[in-house]
Amino acid sequence: MGCDSCGGSCSPQNYISFDVGNTHGPESGRLAAPEAIGRLIKSAKRPLLIVGSEILEDDGMLDRAIAIGKKGIPIAATGPAIRGFVEREYDGEVYYYQLHELTNCILDPEWKGLDGQGNYDVVVFFGIIYYYASAMLSAIKNFGTDPLIRGVSIDKYYHPHARMTFGNYSPKRQAEYLEMLDKLISVL
């Protein structure tokens, strides 16, 4: 094999999990541009946005979740995230679901989905406590294989178990991160 693509300048050091010990197996999350993730979501037959408690910490994130929802992507609000939608009186398709339960359902090809119309093919994690999200993405990566379910993260963390993920963005780079989300939303 050898590294032909970038002559050795790329390095797995760029793929450091937000929790540094959270190492991956032979396969790991592909760092992806927001547009690329956006296109994946757009091309999905049944996409699902899964949001968690961290969208409440940060005004910008709840805004973006709603913006994604308004593009017609159904939302599963886990943990207390649902509060944000209630308080904002969001009238799009949003469901409260406990994340553990939800991931479990996603792994069942026969699951009917939140709307009774069937399971999802691309599930997007957003605003979920890092290590909890990581574990759920691991479950999807390892067991959501037939049919293939793509677990994707649009959090400000590198997620080794996601198919596609951003890198790690510190609070200093929050504006940059929100811009990436906007780019993603723009292609939906």
Binding site: S53, V86, Q98
Partner: protein
């Protein structure tokens, strides 16, 4: 004929031993023997599969490879098979079994170790005298082994049974053997059951030997929290789970009249256990603050025994000049074994700093050494200040480059650099907040490129808070009394007590210790019985209400409505199982002897109990939860708990999973999905609270009971999540289940949102529920309990 202990020797018959009352088959017939005395790993597999088919194991691998044998490493990602033929799912089950093995072994080995330590002095014929209000002295022992113990001696075959079966299960971990995830889980459930039994033995042994409280209410108070330790006195900090060496310290202090001169503080379960007898001792903290207690320099000597001790204790203790005494062979840290050596020489070696620590394996040799070392070290150490000076604090803050390495190393992802910056600007709040959020691992320090002692920086910032961190906690009371069970039986069934909430386990909380307080206060104020053990019992103790009262002061410690009980240390968890078993035995008059599956079946269908291990961290927490699960008690873990890899999740959208038999006629019925899960992680406390309320539902709930449970479920959901729970209707079997105050509103919702048919005249539900209410419904999952099979 000469009598020695309980044995007789007959002259000339030296090879003949006569044991009185020891023969198993001749055990007093206190109850007919059920089908499974001392079950082996396949015996209860049928019960396990009942659970596993309903609560299918859900796996979130923490590692994509297996590296347990030299055939590997093997890439198992995508549910691949390894070189030995194991697949990712079975591998996860294997890791769960391994965790439960280590946890169960820790509890079990601790009990055995205690007997070995103490039998030399007091023999094994010390009676198990639990007073007049307890006639079911050891519910798990009686349930699982069929033995009703009267003295410590009676526990010996129980320990043999556990050890034999732990080793059998350890065999099953071998490369190339079991290939089924479900069978690994069945084995893990067996291990969890052995764990529960081992805990009961361990706690009963110490209750008997040390005459600890055995279920009395109104236990005395003692102080808990880092602020409770008076470091102006020579201070001993004891850490671990095996109390005898610490009791020797207590004895020495008492004998010498030093109780007020020397401060005895502790971390974790050993300290819980000594406060069950000696309330001058204080509990500095639970597991999560161990490193900070050490690094704050509290200890003039540190005495460790076993489990939940920092593995780098020597390195950390050296930083603050605390000598370390290891008192247990499981944790010897490379130190020289000085058991039996002249105690004054040992004291001298430690005080003069000739050695960083010693090993003393006889608990009865520890007291004097620990106390005298503390007294001699105190003046030496008092000259130093272990909390950073203002200048040093500022310098360290200034040196921080906000590189983020600490954040990457932090299990919580805390943005320490940002907090440092704020502190430098004069705002200590972020650092103070982190002091509680921090789980105390210290990984941040070793990756800091500027060598900032981050733990010390945080301690410095939080010092004013630490000094106020002080609360009152009640001594661990031990078992629940039979008389209490009799009293709560009806209220539990009628729902005036909506459930039993058991906060247990370690300190790996997602967002600090305050959550523990919230859980306890929320449920106690709603009339649930809240039974605490271990770190959660400690960590809710130093949070105070507006009146300055801790939950232990606010609520009584009876096993009754709206009470908060410190049951004891981790091993005392067994009494929570015990209470559930006693409900079956005493209230419902089920025969428990050798009858595990029937009792677990009773509990899962009737006893609305739910554990919460909000900071579940260790292998013991894994085996504890698994032991609760096999007995039919669900548990919620904090989000770090997903790293155990396995959950037991129900599927409320699949009615066929909720099949139950009616014992009256053997009919199969589909019931509401309760308890919905056996093991599930909540993301935050706001999600945890309604979830726990939901997990207290049981299919046999009476209407009044269901009504009250539903009230709390909806109320907690509205309060914390701002929504009606989307699944609340699943638990409505009839209009009589509906909370009275808003009955009409709920009927309307059911009609509009769920398409149920309502007769508005009578305000009755005509159709909609999964199942109606039938007061004489007698649910079971076990075919063997059905009429034709009985």
């Amino acid at each position: 004929m000469e009598e020695i202990g309980g044995k007789f020797k007959i002259e000339g018959w030296e090879n003949v031993q006569i044991n009185i009352g020891k023969v198993e088959e001749e055990e007093e017939e206190w109850e007919p023997m059920g089908p499974y005395p001392m079950p082996k790993m396949a015996d209860l597999r049928n019960w396990d599969y009942k659970l596993l088919n309903r609560y299918k194991p859900f796996y979130a691998p923490l590692c994509d490879v297996c590296a347990l044998c030299t055939y590997g490493k093997c890439d198992l990602s995508g549910n691949k098979y390894g070189a030995c033929g194991i697949r990712m799912d079975a591998m996860q089950g294997r890791i769960v079994l391994l965790a439960c093995l280590v946890g169960a072994s820790a509890h079990m080995a601790h009990g055995r170790h205690m007997i070995h330590d103490l039998e030399h002095r007091w023999g094994v014929d010390v009676p198990l005298d639990l007073g007049t209000e307890i006639n079911v002295p050891a519910p798990l022992t009686q349930l699982i082994t069929g033995i009703k113990p009267k003295s410590i001696r009676d526990f010996l075959p129980v320990l043999d049974y556990i050890e034999e079966n732990i080793v059998q299960l350890a065999d099953a971990l071998h490369t190339g053997q079991e290939g089924s995830a479900d069978d690994f889980e069945s084995k893990a459930l067996q291990m969890g059951m052995l764990d529960s039994l081992g805990k009961e033995v361990a706690d009963m042994v110490q209750i008997a030997y040390y005459n600890m409280p055995h279920g009395e209410s109104n236990q005395p108070f003692f102080e808990v929290g880092m602020g409770s330790i008076d470091t102006n006195k020579p201070t001993i900090i004891v850490i671990g789970h095996n109390a005898p060496p610490s009791f020797d310290i207590v004895d020495y202090l008492t004998e010498k009249g030093l109780e007020d001169e020397v401060e005895l503080g502790g971390i974790c379960c050993t300290s819980i256990d000594i406060t069950r007898k000696y309330q001058k001792a204080k509990i500095a903290s639970g597991l999560g603050r161990q490193l900070r207690v050490i690094r704050a320099g509290f200890a003039d000597v540190i005495v460790i025994d076993e489990q939940c001790i920092r593995a780098d204790i020597l390195k950390q203790a050296k930083i603050v000049g605390s000598p370390v005494i290891c008192t247990n062979d499981k944790a010897m840290h490379g130190l020289v074994d000085r058991t039996g050596d002249d105690q004054d020489e040992i004291i001298d070696d430690l005080v003069e700093g000739r050695v960083p620590g010693v090993v003393i394996l006889d608990p009865f040799q520890v007291g004097k050494v620990a106390v005298e070392v503390a007294r001699k070290m105190h003046p030496k150490r008092a000259k130093k200040e272990y909390i950073l000076s203002d200048e040093a604090f500022k310098e360290y803050l200034e040196s921080c480059t906000m590189c983020g390495s600490c954040t990457f190393a932090c299990p919580q992802g805390l943005r320490i650099g940002g907090a440092n910056k704020k502190a430098l600007e004069g705002d200590l709040e972020p650092l103070i907040k982190m002091f509680d959020q921090c789980v105390g691992c210290g990984r941040c320090e070793q990756v800091c490129k500027k060598h900032i002692p981050i733990v010390d920086v945080m301690v410095k910032a939080a010092r004013p808070v630490i000094e106020k961190e002080k609360g009152k906690m009640r001594a661990g009371r031990g078992p629940v009394r039979d008389t209490e069970i009799r009293q709560v039986g009806a209220p539990l069934v009628l729902g005036t007590i909506p459930g039993i909430i058991a906060p247990i386990g370690c300190g790996n909380y997602p967002n600090g210790t305050k959550d523990v307080y919230t859980i306890v206060d929320e449920f106690a104020s709603r009339g649930y019985i809240v039974t605490l053990t271990g770190c959660m019992a400690i960590d809710c103790g130093f949070h105070l209400d507006d009146e300055g009262k801790s939950v232990y002061e606010k609520y009584p410690d009876d096993f009754d409505k709206g009470c908060v009980l410190n049951i004891g240390s981790c091993v005392a968890n067994a009494h929570i199982h015990g209470a559930a078993i006693k409900v079956a035995s005493i209230f419902a008059r089920r025969q428990i002897r050798g009858n595990y599956d029937e009792i677990a079946d009773y509990i899962i269908n009737r006893v609305g109990a739910c554990g919460v291990a909000w900071g579940a961290m260790s292998q013991k927490a894994a085996s504890i939860a698994t032991g609760f699960n096999r007995l039919g008690v669900p548990a919620v873990v904090g989000p770090h708990g997903v790293k155990y890899r396995r959950a037991f999740l129900g599927r409320r959208d699949l009615p066929e999973r909720w099949k139950v038999y009616d014992t009256r006629n053997g009919e199969e019925l589909y019931c509401e999905p309760c308890p919905e899960h056996l093991l599930v992680a909540a993301e935050t406390i706001e999600e945890c609270l309604p979830l726990m309320a939901k997990l207290c539902f049981r299919v046999a709930d009476t209407s009044p009971g269901r009504m009250i449970k539903l009230t709390h479920y909806i109320d907690l959901s509205m309060k914390y999540l701002k929504i009606m729970p989307p699944d609340w209707h699943l638990y409505v079997r009839s209009e009589t289940d509906l909370p009275l105050a808003k009955k009409e509103y709920y009927l309307q919702l059911l009609e509009e949102e769920q398409d149920w048919k309502i007769d508005w005249k009578t305000k009755k539900i005509i159709s909609g529920p999964v199942k109606g209410v039938d007061p004489s419904f007698n649910p079971t999952l076990l075919e063997r309990l059905l009429p034709e099979k009985r």
